[in-house]
């Protein structure tokens, strides 16, 4: 798994010299990342803990801003966006290791949350949420609060939520990190299936090489630098 991948589809992300430093430059997290991600890819970003994987994912989702470098999405410079909310609302679906479901909202309401501010009536939002929860096998859990769900069910609900706004990119940060091996496999199969069905590009951070093998492309990060970038074996 080495060498440079040659993405064939439309270029979505283009990062050049992407750098992130914390504590006034004393703690470098990313040290000049160059990366291109194209439409339809399933990219696994791998590397040891603290290597900068999550920081890179946060940069792609504009949850955090780079200290230096350039980051373009469909040719547009993301670093100059004032409020990235519209970009996230339109193009991005997030899946987190800790699920981050809102505890006071039912599973169905959690899936509706990303649709606020997008065109559509409350009834249309509800219909879309029900449809997605059916797709992840949670139609019997619509009215339950997240606390009543198992870890695997919570992550499936979070996956349904990530697709609610019909994003073009899914950014998944250790999506199976809090799950047992059986649930991890199930979630990976689900992600694979939904990626194809919904025609989304998937960028997944993981430290698990076995899970990374599901991806079409592996990007290995170490000490904030891309050490390897190539097709999955």
């Amino acid at each position: 798994m080495s060498g440079s991948a040659k993405p064939a589809g439309e270029t979505l992300y283009e990062a050049t010299g992407l750098t992130k430093e914390y504590d006034d430059g004393n703690v470098p997290a990313l040290r000049g990342i160059d990366l291109r991600i194209s439409r339809g890819e399933f990219v696994a970003i791998v590397g040891p803990s603290g290597c900068g994987k999550t920081t890179l994912l946060n940069m792609l989702g504009l949850l955090d801003r780079p200290t230096a470098g350039e980051l373009r999405f469909r040719g547009r410079d993301l670093t100059t966006l004032g409020d990235p909310a519209a970009y996230r609302a339109r193009d991005i679906g997030f899946i987190f290791q800790s699920f981050h479901l809102l505890p006071n909202f039912t599973v169905e309401e959690n899936v509706q949350i990303p649709m606020f501010g997008l065109p559509g009536s409350p009834a249309a939002r509800r219909a879309r949420a029900v449809e997605l929860l059916e797709a992840v096998g949670l139609s019997h859990r619509l009215a339950h609060l997240p606390v009543k769900l198992s870890g695997g069910e919570r992550q499936r609900a979070a996956i349904a939520r990530s697709l609610a706004n019909r994003p073009s990119i899914l950014l998944a940060d250790e999506p199976t990190g809090n799950l047992d091996s059986k649930n991890s496999e199930h979630v990976m199969e689900l992600l694979q299936r939904l990626r194809v069905e919904h025609d989304v590009t998937l960028v997944m951070v993981t430290h698990d090489r076995q899970l990374a093998a599901h991806a079409t492309r592996l990007v290995e990060i170490r000490d904030g630098r891309v050490m390897a970038d190539g097709l999955s074996p």
Partner: protein, 368 residues
Amino acid sequence: MSFLQVIFRGLWRRPVRTGLTVLGIAIGIAAVVALVGMASGYEKSVVNQLDTIGIDIVVSNMQGGIMPKTFEETVRDGIASLPGVSEANATLMQMLSVEDAPMMVVYGREWNSFTWDGLEVLEGRLPRDSAEPAVVLGKLAAEVMGKKVGDPLQIEAVEFTVVGIVDGSSVLENGAINLALPRFQEASGYEERANFVNVRVTEGTDVAALCAAIEARHPGLRAVASGEVVGTSQGFRMARAMSWSTSLLAIIVGVLGVMNTMLMSVFERKHEIGVLLALGWQRARIMALILCESAAMGLLGGIVGVLLGAAVLAVLETTPYVRGFLEPDLGWALALRAVIIAMLVGVISGLYPAWRSSRLSPGLALQG
């Protein structure tokens, strides 16, 4: 799910804290409603009384107190001789503890003057003359004191007989004890003194010019057209200022309480706000959420506060200290004003927490 549901779900996540904050606002608003309602009720009672009796000008010596100072009763004669005056009579009014009642309004009215005209006799009669040791009670006063016609009634050290019960069509009249001026002067120790001269003018008289003429003839006294009594009286101004300044304090306490609650809420919900930002919510929407939650608490507090204030007024109305000389006035206008104030308290209190929430970095907020 609507945005409104999101707002109420946010408030419901800490029901006890939300409830206590709403209660805090409600108590503040109840204080506003009760105080302003009492002050406004008192003003209304006085205006109503002047209208009922048909007084055009009130002359008094209102120097720095709520109760006017007394002056020589003969001032009335000087005023009566002025051109444009149809009738002038002297009244002595005092607030006294009478028997078991802690505070009663007592009027000494000149016998045969027009000030008796507005009293409709419900039971018994009016005093026969100014010499009879008799009193007539307003219907509320009779109820408060538990008196009926024929009962004795002691004012200061003098014993009188209740000869009639009257309806005076204003709460001040209905809550008062009325007797002939000389009898009250004698009982209260204010011989040949009064503290009001009530004036009726002849048709076409320039009331403002007559007031000026009265004041010129009797320096130290103030002559006020009956329609302006409330607006110019120092006592009313003091009562109004006190009620609004106490209300302002209640509002400031309310603002601090809600702001504290909302700041704690924003701090506790950093993670939730981070998730919402990550899921594409605009900062303006997050700010709107916090502001709406804050305003909703204000609205709830306002509604509960108005109900609480109405209950306080209803209870106060039955107490011997208030009954008979105060008729609290809780109209729709005051209720609406109180609810709007409460909502403003909510919005103002939410501004800073909302701004804080909008400054959160989603990346840091999600890290916890």
